[in-house]
């Protein structure tokens, strides 16, 4: 059924991504591709993998942005430009337009945990759901002709054959910086909900009215280079030297 589920549980599984912490290493991109090419549905194909025009299907991609505060081009005047690495995958929106536009019912949102999935045996590969997603979270697999998207690793998180610590999405398990968190955003007491409340987590493109489940934590405020400068001790300053260095300081002064 491509209408959104009428009766939902309170459960909203999703990710919280900390933009302050992500270092843009792309490890999550690779682990996602690795897990999902052998798991749920068709493999994530590559086109011309050894040619000049290489491209392929990915469910998670990391962009890097430069954010320039007003007047920030002049170093030290109004804060400095900063680079923010920005991982992006399906946000498992509550009002997911990708679900309602689907003509076949292949694209659906689960009532029990809010995960948005594609039934690849029903998908005709019309591409309309990708058009309806403002976040670029869906990619048509050119080899299989069906739509691929993040499954929130539905085949890991409930997988009882895995160790408990592995029952999280592959990207979360992999992230070396701990920038990715997984949990129930429908439960206000969950770790992820608390994190979102404390850090001021936000939605991407709220004006698209999709009500994403995934949240992003903003980069923490930074002191500008200029205001940090006085804190750095000058090299000429020998006050406070002790022991051998104090002796050396004095001796050199005398010469």
């Amino acid at each position: 059924m491509t209408s959104l589920p009428q009766h939902r549980t309170a459960k909203k599984l999703g990710l919280v991504i900390d933009l302050d912490v992500c270092v843009g290493c792309h490890a999550c991109v690779i682990s996602c591709k690795e897990w999902n090419t052998g798991a749920y549905g068709n493999a994530l194909s590559d086109q011309h993998p050894y040619g000049e025009d290489v491209s392929g299907t990915f469910l998670n991609r990391v962009h890097s942005f430069e954010v320039v505060p007003e007047g920030g081009q002049v170093i030290g005047e109004a804060g400095d430009a900063r680079v923010v690495h920005f991982p992006k995958s399906c946000l498992h929106c509550e009002d997911a337009p990708c679900v309602t536009v689907c003509p076949t019912g292949a694209s659906y949102k689960r009532a029990e945990d809010g995960i948005v999935l594609v039934d690849e045996d029903t998908c005709i590969g019309c591409g309309l759901c990708a058009w309806s997603c403002a976040y670029g979270a869906r990619e048509m697999d050119l080899a299989a002709g069906v739509m691929k998207k993040c499954t929130l690793c539905v085949d890991r998180i409930y997988n009882e054959t895995l160790q408990q610590e592995d029952r999280v999405p592959s990207c979360v398990r992999t992230c070396p910086a701990n920038a990715r968190h997984y949990g129930d955003l429908g439960d206000p007491a969950s770790d992820v909900s608390v994190m979102v409340a404390e850090r001021g987590g936000f939605d991407l493109m709220p004006e698209q009215e999709t009500r994403p489940t995934n949240k992003y934590l903003p980069p923490r405020p930074r002191t500008s280079l200029a205001s940090a400068a006085p804190m750095i001790p000058l090299a000429e300053n020998t006050e406070g030297a002790r022991g051998f260095f104090a002796w050396l300081d004095k001796t050199l002064d005398r010469i």
């Binding site: 430009a81 005709i124 936000f202 991407l204």
Partner: protein, 304 residues
């Protein structure tokens, strides 16, 4: 958006076919005349070719029938259902005309309704997408409907051109609807050119509170499905020339041809003029549809 020929051909041809179906359904043409029989076959052929072309766009066309199931929520599904449902009264009307020289008002009116709702559904596939600002307006279905009717009236005029009594009202209506279509499309374009984008790189990343957001590095060095599908760009200088072609060829030249044909009256020359007007109109609509996709900016491009 990437202007896929399969979709452009589909919307252009089926739009024209449904337009002609409306004219036939309203009983404008004499059911005993040979050109009317050809007109029925033409309408069915145009619609059929359009629908087949739309199948070429699918990754798995062998499962296309599944697209009929979600009419409750999806405009694409509604379009498929309506297209197939409209075939029933249309084929029956065609059979009546071909084999019994008859026109049936009830069947005719049902096919008119079906044709209009199908064209409307097609246009709503695009107009309902919030992610593409230039499409997300009631002007989109208005333009699709007016273009379809103008094309149908032009074709109808050709098939009626040997019969002065039936030909003239159709030619006058064609003139009127070409003008309506032209004006509606100009308003649509003005809106598209002046609108303020719903989403920005700042809202897309949520980093607007820190400052202006600029892409430093794409996720991958080369293109991907999203940039190919959503990131199509046309040079502005080409776009304005193409708009000129669309307007002149799609509406202005057909209007001039119609006026000359009307002043000449029933003759081989006026039939030839009408045929030329239709070809020009088709070319114009094709270019207009190409621009409809090629110029459309998708919200996801705020990340690229």
């Amino acid at each position: 958006m990437h202007p896929a020929y399969s979709i452009i051909i589909f919307t252009t041809l089926s739009g024209l076919g449904y337009g002609l179906a409306v004219i036939l359904g309203l009983g404008f043409l004499d059911p005993s005349a040979l050109p009317t029989k050809i007109a029925y076959l033409t309408a069915l052929a145009l619609i059929g070719m359009g629908l087949l072309s739309s199948l070429l766009h699918l990754g798995n066309p062998q499962r296309a029938w599944r697209a009929l199931s979600q009419w409750r929520s999806s405009w694409l599904s509604r379009e498929g259902v309506m297209a197939i449902a409209t075939f029933v009264p249309l084929v029956l009307s065609a059979a009546l005309c071909l084999f019994a020289d008859r026109y049936d008002t009830v069947l005719g009116l049902i096919s008119v309704l079906g044709a209009l709702v199908t064209v409307y559904s097609t246009s709503m596939i695009y107009a309902s997408l919030k992610t593409v600002d230039s499409w997300h307006t009631h002007l989109t279905p208005l333009c699709f409907l007016l273009f379809s009717l103008a094309g149908g009236l032009l074709l109808g005029s050709l098939f009626a051109s040997f019969d002065a009594q039936r030909g003239l009202p159709l030619q006058l209506l064609a003139l009127l609807f070409l003008l309506f279509a032209l004006v509606a499309k100009m308003v649509w374009r003005k809106r598209a050119r002046t609108l303020i984008a719903t989403s920005t790189p700042e809202s897309a990343t949520g980093l607007g509170s820190i400052g202006k957001v600029r892409l430093l590095e794409r996720p991958h060095a080369l293109d991907n499905y999203l940039t190919r599908e959503m990131g199509f760009r046309v040079a502005r200088k080409h776009a304005s020339k193409l708009w000129l072609i669309a307007f002149v060829s799609g509406a202005i030249l057909p209007i001039i041809a119609l006026l000359i044909a009307m002043s000449i009256g029933e003759s081989v020359v006026s039939i030839a003029l009408l045929a030329i007007a239709i070809l020009l109109h088709l070319l114009g609509v094709f270019v207009e549809r190409w621009l409809f996709f090629a110029e459309a900016k998708h919200a996801v491009m705020n990340y690229y």
